[in-house]
Amino acid sequence: MLELHDGSLDVSNILDRWYKQERKSNYGAFIPFVGTIRDEDGIDGLSFDVYEPILESWFKNWQEKAHKKGAIIKMAHSRGDVMLHESSYIAAVFSPKRRVALEFIDEFVEDFKASAPIWKYDLKNTERIYAKDRSTAIAGSGILK
């Protein structure tokens, strides 16, 4: 399941909902990763652009990888502005055993950072500034150079 929300995520509500969706599915391990906006570099918050068609196919590919290990993943992300100390990202793995869950959440979150078609902007004094220095070129970039 992939959810996009306008603005910040209601973390407690999402974790509660996901846990209850799967609590009878016989998964022994549930590991969410929650990303929250840190107060740094004088920002007021962050803002996100999301390109849904490719995000969905990227996510579907990971869901298939999870299924092969008997696991499932869920993900929620914000669109638009998210202010300091609010959360913009939750990814979660459910699996029968802990090792698969611990390894999968790490691989998933890292590939999310490197590949998911989402762009981040710093919000500073009403400006929206592309976070170029913290962004990563997707593997295979530069073919039009």
Partner: protein, 73 residues
Amino acid sequence: MVRVEFLGPINKEPLELNISNLNELATILQGDEKMNQWLENSAVAVNDMMVSSRDTALKNGDKVSLLPPVCGG
């Protein structure tokens, strides 16, 4: 016609071009000075599938997307 979209921070209006492969698109975009900073670090999708070769053929109605460096989360 092929529609070319510039995602995220590239901040450029879509183009409608009469091209038959990505090589022709590369030539056109290399002539746009504002695009230089993006060509080297952007990935390319055709009809929302990532592509890895500039020889990728294009046909009428295709959509090409340029994806600059990402940072979700």
